[in-house]
């Protein structure tokens, strides 16, 4: 029966394959034992900037085991741009999802709405709740429950290369018109480009939109406002910056190109947030840290504003080790941890008590960003918040590359929003 053997082998191979597909790792079960001591594994997906921030966060996260020796922390850095989708894939299928995720503020209500997050009210994750800045805590609320703990808060400003500004003899631009003249002078005197405008991510478009007095949506009145005149003007502004050669941009790989261009001194300015500070200071132009200047984003025709952003720590509802995860989320957002993060990475804490600590209060980046954050434009904390960027991104890139006009671009985004936000005006 030689053929019989082959058939048996085939069936056996099939069985093995099917079994391999079906087996889920149940190995990270744990939790509190009789004595109340935490054990098991906590997997944390961090989304911080690779090469600078991630090292510090890894070190701090693994420090959790000093307090809870029986818990193993598995640190995983997921690139920020992929994390939202990766988490959704894993969370929905129920396999491979982390226990704790660093969730961007706009993702948090969305994940909560989809049922992926564990409510944290009354758990160990929320300690000294009243110490959190109100702005930071706002994004963690959904339907009356708390779904995340604020980890860092941020906004945006102009990062500029002081040396280039000195060589060209110019001052930091306060509005778009000055930005254009300053860029022209820099080009003329030093041959360098003024601004790197990130063209492949809609988040970098927001400050121009706020500068024209616009917004993506008006959540209170349930109105879509991107298609208004202010939206069109904002698209015109960015297009004009690129056309007039005041700014360079890319339709792909924008983050890397922006950081490289600024760190190598090829452009004098970029608009960015505290998350870029550590990476920027690693650049050769900023070996002397004092060369990095920072100023508020340029004002548009109707005002000045930058988006309020930040990150929360959220616990996956399907985690097999909820207790240790709650404790980990608390540890990572505790005053002590935030103070260390602020000191080493210049990221803004979310606890009032941390800002007044002397070594935090004297940090130049934090003292700059704190008032910016206080004034920053709060984004709509709706489940669709995480969906608002993709339509803008497409049209933003199309406008910048001349595939559509600012008017048509703003209108197309508004149309896409109307599909997304049923019965909004």
């Amino acid at each position: 029966m030689r053929r019989g053997i082959a058939a048996t082998a085939l069936v056996a191979a099939l069985g093995v394959t099917l079994a391999a597909c079906g087996s889920d790792s149940d190995s990270n079960g744990g939790g509190t034992q009789g004595s109340g001591e935490l054990s098991g594994t906590v997997t944390w997906w961090d989304t911080s900037t690779v090469g600078s921030e991630d090292k510090v966060f890894k070190k701090i996260a693994e420090g959790f085991t000093k307090k809870h020796p029986k818990v193993t922390v598995k640190y995983v850095n997921v690139p920020f741009g992929e994390a939202q989708n990766k988490f959704k894939n894993a969370a929905q299928s129920g396999s491979g999802a982390p226990d704790v995720i660093r969730s961007e503020v706009a993702w948090t209500p969305e994940f909560a709405d989809l049922g992926y997050l564990a409510p944290l009210d009354g758990t160990a994750a929320l300690k000294d709740k009243d110490d959190f800045l109100k702005q930071a805590a706002a994004s963690t609320q959904y339907n009356g429950k708390t779904y995340a703990v604020p980890q860092v808060i941020d906004s945006m400003g102009i990062f500029y290369n002081k040396k280039i500004f000195k060589d060209a003899g110019v001052q930091v631009p306060k509005n778009i018109d000055e930005l254009k003249t300053v860029s022209a002078t820099i080009k003329q005197k030093t041959g360098k480009t003024g601004l790197y405008l990130r063209g492949d991510d809609a988040y970098w478009f927001l400050s121009f939109l706020y500068g024209e007095g616009g917004n993506l949506v008006d959540a209170e009145q349930k109105k879509i406002t991107i298609g208004d005149e202010s939206g069109v003007k904002a698209f015109r502004t960015v297009k004009d910056l690129v056309d007039s050669k005041a700014a360079i941009t890319d339709a792909t790989n924008g983050w890397d190109n922006m950081q490289a261009a600024f760190k190598d001194g090829k452009v004098a300015m970029m608009i960015n947030g505290p998350w870029a500070v550590a990476d920027t200071l690693a650049g050769k132009e900023f070996a002397d840290k004092a060369n990095l200047g920072i100023a508020p984003v340029p004002a548009g025709s109707a005002g000045q504003g930058a988006p309020q952003g930040g990150h929360n720590l959220a616990v996956y509802a399907g985690s097999k080790n909820l207790d240790a995860s709650y404790a980990f989320a608390e540890y990572m957002t505790s005053a002590e941890t935030q103070r260390q993060v602020a000191k080493e990475l210049s990221l803004l804490p979310t606890r009032q008590s941390v800002f007044i600590k002397p070594d935090v209060a004297s940090n130049e980046m934090i003292t700059f960003f704190k008032p910016v954050v206080d004034k920053a434009v709060e984004r709509p904390w709706i489940p669709e918040g995480g969906s608002l960027f993709e339509p803008v991104k497409v049209e933003y890139t199309k406008v910048l590359t001349g595939q559509t006009t600012p008017d048509a671009g703003a209108k197309a985004v508004a149309d896409a929003y109307r599909k997304l936000l049923k019965d909004w005006k």
Binding site: A7, L10, G115, A251, N253, K398, T401
Partner: protein, 339 residues
């Protein structure tokens, strides 16, 4: 190329030919007896075939049927059933009939994307075939270092596509990429390889041609070597020149090979996900988005994820390719080709 395998095999397999003549309406006694006999004589064959049938049903049949079903509903991320820890959320999506298809076919987006997908497929296949044919002809002669050239030309094929596509992405980078550095070394302006819609279209086609030429070349070289040398000798004796020999011996001799590779290449290129996705993600804007990358975007990149629309596009792609394959087959049969 693992991404496109299922739809290929489905498209290739096509609809089974309808049973003709025999066994229809001839009463029930005979077929039952026949099937019984067939089962008792060939049970071993059936047993051997069964695992394959089961595997195909599981890995192709189920996703296909599920996809078709989803395309008839309004399923998205927010209304499908999911069970996360303590949260059990039941499915609340509804059957909407052919609404999704009506919307896709009447809207600009599908037709616009289809237009570019056709341009992309036709230009990629045409250029790849032309280059592959030329290279195969060159390498079919006795030239010094022939085996070295052959090996070098197969290299793009030997490297996993995503690795080479990433390499191209670095080469194309407008500010730091090697291509623009070479251009600026020669005193030329930088080219916005992936930042300008038109240039980006040419750039993605170039990469796909680069990836596709080895396959064409090897397949056609095999075809060339199967043409008997006596035919050329005889033609030369009769005074045929090089063009006439190519036109009347090489081309007809290559027919069977080239029809197959053209069909394969068309289907692969139509669904060539990695090149577009890894090089431009469909950008700038949506300039290089082909049907499969757009379908992927619907189901994995936008939120809430639109599973229904994504499946609709998937089914439409399947239908388009099946119609193409059927049409192609018919044209060939008319020309007397057995295929």
């Amino acid at each position: 190329m693992a991404v496109d395998t299922p739809s290929q095999s489905v498209a290739k397999a096509g609809p089974p030919p309808p049973p003709r003549g025999r066994g229809r309406g001839t009463g029930t006694g005979k077929p039952r007896g026949a099937s019984k006999r067939s089962l008792s004589t060939h049970w071993y064959a059936w047993a051997l075939v069964a695992p394959v049938v089961v595997v195909i049903a599981v890995i192709i049949g189920y996703p296909l049927i599920r996809g078709i079903y989803l395309s008839l509903t309004n399923a998205n991320e927010r209304n499908v059933a999911r069970s996360i820890g303590v949260n059990n959320i039941p499915a609340t999506y509804e059957f909407v009939g052919l609404d999704n298809y009506a919307e896709a076919i009447s809207g600009n987006q599908f037709l616009g994307t289809l237009g570019w997908t056709v341009v992309w497929t036709v230009s990629c296949v045409a250029v790849t075939f032309g280059l592959g044919l030329a290279l195969a002809n060159i390498l079919n002669r006795r030239i010094a270092g022939r085996s070295v050239y052959r090996m070098l030309l197969i290299l793009p094929w030997a490297v996993p596509p995503f690795v080479s596509v990433f390499a191209w992405r670095f080469l194309y980078d407008e500010r730091r990429g090697m291509l623009n550095q070479i251009l600026s070394g020669a005193g030329l302006d930088a080219v916005p390889w992936l930042n300008d819609p038109t240039v980006a279209k040419l750039a993605v086609i170039a990469v796909n041609v680069w990836l596709g030429v080895p396959f064409m070349m090897v397949a056609l070289l095999g075809g060339l070597q199967s043409i008997p040398g006596e035919l050329y000798e005889a033609a030369e004796m009769d005074g045929a020149n090089a063009w006439q020999r190519f036109r009347h011996i090489t081309m007809p001799g290559l027919r069977s090979v080239s029809t197959t590779v053209l069909l394969l290449s068309t289907i692969w290129t139509f669904n060539m996900f990695p090149v577009i996705f890894l090089l431009t993600r469909g950008g700038p804007g949506e300039a290089t988005q082909i049907l499969v990358t757009q379908a992927y975007k619907f189901s994995f990149e936008i939120s809430p994820r639109d599973f229904a629309q994504s499946s609709t596009w998937g089914v439409l792609i399947l239908i388009l390719l099946m119609v193409f394959a059927a049409f192609y087959q018919r044209v060939l049969r008319k020309q007397g080709e057995v295929w």
